[in-house]
Amino acid sequence: MIELQDVWKEYGNGTAALSGVSVRIKQGEFVYVVGPSGAGKSTFIKLMYREERPTKGHIFVGGFNIERLRERQIPLMRRTIGVVFQDYKLLQKLTVWENVAFALEVIEASRRTIHRRVEEVLDLVGLSEKAGMNPRELSGGEQQRVGVARALVNKPSVIIADEPTGNLDPDNSWGILKLFERVNDRGTTIVMATHNRELVNATHKRVIAIEGGQIVRDQERGDYGYED
């Protein structure tokens, strides 16, 4: 499903973010990516949806060979994955409904499909009542649920989340995690970079720890492992 083979990433200024990372994530897995700040977690995540390109190595996501993608194919690849961001990345001028529908309009779905799918995911994340509101009228937790709904709306086979609970209080963090678990139960792969020790320790999922640009630990039912 997702495979990194000896992936290296160096930024223009000479900083090495990842040094020879190899990992394999199967369809339907739930994986936490943990590690101290600056360890390379975000780079690891960004490589998967091709916001960054590897300096060396191979990356496969779904059927796509990421580093060989042509410009034109990038949008098609991104449609097969849902990305959730720490800062939600919602369009402030659009309503909740429009923000979610946006991901479907982009792939030129029919109006009927858009209506049906948006209703479904808003119901799933519990925001049907707030469909007409603007993101700035919502709490942080609610905004992130919109972000999750947008990531889910075109039924991606994998959800990639970069610190999705980073800006949320514990209650809302749990809410988001519960959502991810429900989605994971339906067979969607989840890769989630996080600093949230409570969540990781309470759920006993696979944990990949990155330090200094390398994978230092990969446990099947792991824990957070850092004292913060």
Binding site: P75, L76, R78, R79, E108
Partner: protein
């Protein structure tokens, strides 16, 4: 691209105009101001050209016929003059007509001609095919047998032609400069409006929108801004010119061209420039934000 998508781009383009109210206002104003100045310059230069053309068209060669030429010989002389190279038109003014005209000009003092008979000569008035050929034509006319005297504003012509040419060239340079300034101003304004929306573009890219799909609404929006930006000065200039045409009295050769004529030359230029600048400016300015 599907028809539904075109519909969506159009709808979104329209909505964006209002969602980004102040930015739209800034861009439309920039387009409007530039095109107003452009339209004004074109209207002005059309009129300057017209005046200089009027003046040039009044350039003529007056050829006095010698009294030794009899009335019978006149038609042959007329034919000979008409066949000279570069003649556009030729008219005959007879001694009698000339005297009549002179008397009209002198009015009460016309009696001074009494008893003098008619001292005025028969005359041919020639116009050259183009104003620059006037002096050359005059020289040819001088050598025709039966012509005793030729007048054509010798010293005046050269200077006049130089002035009208300079005015025409000046107007073209001025319009060129204005266009360059305008495009610079507008593309900067559009760049600012799009910079404010780079996040929006980034998100579109991250959810898998193609570049073409992202450009769509911006293209519609830019075109509409250009269209509004052109419509405002078009309307203002039209009304302003019409008012001037109706209320400002000038005498030939300094007459204003009719409103409809000027409008037919200026309005479509403004609309086309507006649409082009708006659409092109949007697309070019957003190009670098598409690299996510």
């Amino acid at each position: 691209m599907r028809i539904r998508t075109v519909g969506r781009h159009t709808r979104e383009g329209f909505k964006n105009l209002f969602r980004n109210g102040w930015m739209t206002f800034a861009a439309v104003s920039a387009v409007a101001v530039t095109l107003f100045i452009l339209g004004l310059s074109i209207a002005l230069s059309l009129n300057i050209q017209n005046v200089s053309l009027n003046i040039e068209n009044q350039l003529q060669v007056n050829a006095d016929v010698s009294d030794s030429v009899t009335a019978k010989e006149l038609p042959a002389l007329g034919k000979e003059l008409a066949h000279l190279p570069g003649v556009r038109s030729i008219t005959f003014v007879s001694k009698a007509d000339a005297l009549q005209k002179m008397k009209k000009i002198l009015q009460g003092n016309a009696s001074m001609f009494n008893g003098l008979g008619n001292p005025l000569p028969n005359e041919y008035v020639l116009q050259a095919a183009n104003p620059e050929m006037t002096s050359g034509l005059a020289k040819l006319v001088q050598h025709v047998k039966g012509i005793q005297n030729v007048q054509y504003g010798q010293s005046f012509i050269g200077k006049l032609l130089a002035v009208t040419a300079a005015v025409r060239d000046g107007a073209i340079v001025l319009i060129g400069l204005l266009l360059v300034m305008g495009i610079f101003l507008i593309s900067n304004t559009i760049k600012i409006t799009i910079f404010a929306r780079r996040r929006e573009i980034e998100i579109m890219k991250l959810v898998g929108a193609t570049d073409g799909f992202i450009r769509g609404p911006f293209f519609v929006e830019g075109t509409l801004m250009g269209l509004f930006g052109a419509a405002i000065p078009a309307f203002v200039l039209y009304e302003l010119y019409r008012w001037m045409f109706l209320n400002v009295t000038l005498f030939p050769p300094f007459s204003l061209l009719p409103t409809a004529y000027v409008a037919s030359r200026v309005l479509w230029v403004l609309i086309l420039c507006g649409v082009f600048i708006g659409a092109w400016g949007s697309i070019v300015s957003m190009r670098r934000f598409l690299r996510v």
